[in-house]
């Protein structure tokens, strides 16, 4: 610990705080360092208060920290909110444009600069945020040439004039920050190599493309929107269609229609939109039409808090829709994991002809991290899919003998595309017989319910059991999805303090093999760490294994679960002995 640097950039919406973060992240990434960033913002376009967190290290990071070594306060409000969280080596850059500089911090700690004035002298007040990035680059000692490269990369697409103006602004800032270096052990001499900086949103988009998804019907809803925005940006390069639907009901039904016609489709939303999609989810279930829905969770119900984060839709997504049918639910633990989770969701949805849901949240969507994504371009989207298509059905459609819902040993009926000579395809949301025609005969009803549930055996085999760390421990921090990084870091801190604690972290959530899970968790004291009020994973574990959790660290304030919060809570839990 202690090698990493955290920069907190606070300001009003519209002040370009994300640009400061992305410039600094670019410098660090190109220099071979690892970053983790996170955006916290309000549901407004201008004003209010937002912050951007950027953490930098020589080694891979799993989450952000809330204790800044450098606080960039673009307004006085940001200074007041965060200066008490500064670390011992902390430095502050305060934008003094507004004039009201607090006098309670010594000059060697606080650098108060009129950023807009400096920017104006460099060619345009609009580059105040680039001046700030220059100051911080100097505080970090990145070297001016690396900082210049990042500015060029960031603004290249906006033309030479904009690049020149921002370079001048950068240099103004760099000069001003030179005597305010922060004590650290980072070295800016390496290279990014094959590593990328990936946000959860972008990873989700790429995971979908890697699995050959081509159609993205979508209705805008925070925090799901950035996922599809990335896809829209990529639509110039890959043959995909992003269609803004009239509502989420249309989005999910368009996905079903496209999937029926042979194109893999995915839609992204948040809990409110997912609620509207539930009817369609049921149609995908009974009609055995593969679709993937990403639910980027936010606090609710109803509108709740639009740009905040939560993990309170786990049980809802597992049980959503009337009646019962098999489905997949995944909850990736990091931005990099999101790529693989979405890809897996699409593949397995196709193989088993069931809907799949990927649970993300605002924290995960808006977090970015350094890492390597392994993807073999020669790899087919899924070789195992070949057996799921009926290649042998070559009889003429005049015979009309193809059965979309043919009863099979594993419950999976080979598909064919509609409107080919291979046979007539009939798909229905009514209970149907093997042919696809509605059929309410009681024996048929049971046969079809049983057919759909037969898939569960194969589905469970595809699920990765939760990861376990320090299996000999008595207590286990237990979580799912995006709390992963925070839990891992908290566990490390607690163990350094002598607390006997490990972790068990879920990414594949449904359907789980209850016997394997029971074996894994028996005899352990589970301390749930969840972004909801009731400990939904605990309910799920209990329902599957009979094991009751030991304690619950519940966070439902709409903000991410940071490592230090978990450490504090676990210390308070009686029974976890030092």
């Amino acid at each position: 610990m202690g090698h990493d640097i955290t920069i907190l950039i606070g300001g009003a919406a519209g002040q370009g705080i994300q640009t400061i973060g992305s410039l600094l992240a670019g410098i660090c990434h190109e220099a071979g360092l690892f970053i983790y960033s996170y955006d916290d913002f309000q549901s407004r376009i201008r004003g209010g208060h937002s912050y951007h967190l950027l953490r930098i290290d020589n080694q891979p990071l799993t989450g952000p920290s809330l204790s800044p070594d450098i606080l960039v306060a673009m307004d006085r409000n940001s200074f007041d909110l965060y200066h008490h969280r500064l670390t011992k080596r902390g430095r502050v850059l305060l934008n003094s444009d507004a004039g009201d500089t607090p006098a309670d911090l010594p000059e060697n700690i606080m650098l108060s600069l009129p950023l807009a004035d400096l920017a104006k002298s460099a060619g345009g007040a609009i580059t105040a945020n680039t001046v700030a990035a220059g100051v911080v680059a100097a505080m970090l000692g990145t070297g001016l040439s690396r900082a210049r490269q990042a500015v060029e990369a960031q603004f290249r697409s906006r033309g030479k004039k904009v690049v020149e103006m921002n370079l001048a602004a950068l240099e103004k800032g760099y000069e001003a920050g030179q005597n305010h270096a922060v004590d650290h052990t980072l070295t800016f001499t390496g290279f990014a190599q094959e590593r990328v900086v990936m946000s959860g949103a972008r990873a989700a988009a790429l995971g979908a493309l890697a699995a050959d998804c081509r159609f993205f019907p979508f209705y805008p809803m925070s925090p799901g929107t950035p996922i599809v925005t990335h896809l829209a940006d990529m639509a110039q390069e890959v043959p995909i269609v992003v269609e803004q639907a009239e509502d989420e009901i249309a989005a999910v039904n368009m996905a079903i229609g496209a999937s029926f016609a042979g194109v893999r489709a995915l839609t992204a939303t948040s809990g409110g939109g997912f609620s509207l999609m539930v009817e369609g989810l049921g149609l995908a279930g009974i009609s055995e039409t593969p679709i993937v829905i990403i639910n980027a969770q936010r606090p609710g119900p109803a509108t709740g808090m639009a740009t905040r984060t939560a993990q309170a839709d786990l049980l809802f997504t597992i049980h959503a829709s009337q009646d019962e049918f098999p489905r997949f639910v995944f909850a990736p633990g990091s931005a990099l994991d999101t790529f693989h989770a979405v890809k897996k969701a699409v593949m397995l949805s196709q193989r088993f002809q069931v809907p799949a849901i990927v649970l993300m949240d605002q924290f995960l969507v808006d977090s970015a991290m350094t890492g390597v994504i392994s993807f073999d371009p020669a790899e087919e989207p899924d070789p195992a899919m070949e057996t799921k298509w009926d290649q042998k059905e070559t009889q003429s459609s005049q015979n009309d003998t193809y059965q979309r819902y043919r009863l099979t040993a594993d419950g999976i009926s080979p598909r064919i595309h509609p409107c080919t000579p291979a046979g007539l395809v009939r798909v229905s949301g009514n209970e149907h017989g093997p042919s696809g025609f509605p059929d309410e005969n009681p024996e048929n009803r049971c046969a079809m319910v049983d057919k759909r549930f037969k898939k569960l055996t194969g589905m469970k085999e595809q699920m990765t059991m939760p990861d376990v760390f320090a299996p000999e421990s008595e207590f286990f921090l237990t979580g799912w999805g995006s709390t992963r990084g925070g839990i891992m870091e908290a566990c490390q801190t607690l163990r350094q303090e002598g607390v006997d604690v490990g972790w068990v972290l879920f990414q594949d959530l449904w359907p789980l093999d209850e016997h394997k899970l029971t074996d894994l968790l028996s005899g352990k004291q589970l301390i749930l760490v969840e972004g909801n009020a009731t400990g939904q994973l605990g309910v799920l574990i209990h329902s599957l294994t009979g094991i009751r959790h030991y304690s619950l660290v519940a966070k439902y304030d709409g903000r991410p679960v940071f490592a230090n919060y978990i450490v504090d809570k676990v210390r308070q839990i009686q029974g976890v002995k030092k």
Partner: protein
Amino acid sequence: MSTSRFDIDRENQWCPGCGNFGILTAMKQAFEARNLTPADLLLIGGIGQAGKTPQYLACNMLHGLHGRALAMATGAKIANHDLNVVVSTGDGDCYGEGGNHFLAAIRRNVELTVLVHNNQVYGLTKGQASPTTALGTVTKLQHQGTSADAFNPVAMSLAAGASFVARGFSGQVDQLAGLIQNAMSHPGFAIIDICQPCVSFNKINTFAWYKERVYDLEDAGHDPSDFSAAWAIAMTPASEQIATGVIFAKEGNAYHRRLTVLQHQPLVSYAFDGDKVHSLISRS
């Protein structure tokens, strides 16, 4: 009755005398006339008596949720715009539960043929008012008469910019078959609002009631490219006269011609390109 390659050996659940039978016959006639085979045809049904239509003829069938047929049809057509997609829906399905999808599908100008079986009543749920039921009509649920003005599907279609708007009558099968053929050759969204009696639940808008009021626009010399004339037809109260035929048709760019990616080939027929995905990953 003549036989058709679209016939299917399956019990029909419609009431004897239902207007749907005339529509079904007209559909088969139109498909035959267009030299289609069952394999060429994708019928998408909503929920309601009209939504059952795809079950009663030989075709590919997608039968989903109440109100959502147009959303599913849009998805299917975006996936593969070479498909011949015909949507069978009703006044409750299309104009009520699916109203938002109806407006959006018109605006997208997705190349679909939409047959709205409009009997001005809910049949499958046994006799409640539909969006097209006239104000004040007493039903099994609305004992004091309906309290909402009737929805005008033709006027709404025109106002929303539909590129092909027609009205048919289930009692005029040959004319209806011709309209369906026209609609299927129209390069864009084509709606046919089809007047039909409901023998079980609508005692007002009976076969005879329609027969007294319908007239053929072609006989009347109507020019379907004349929007003002079309609007006047749309605004004529059905209680007086019911025009049948093509009310309005215009050139327009279908959805799949508006998107560069679909101008080259159907979405479903592109080959997967792992190198492009890899390149996008490494530029993150």
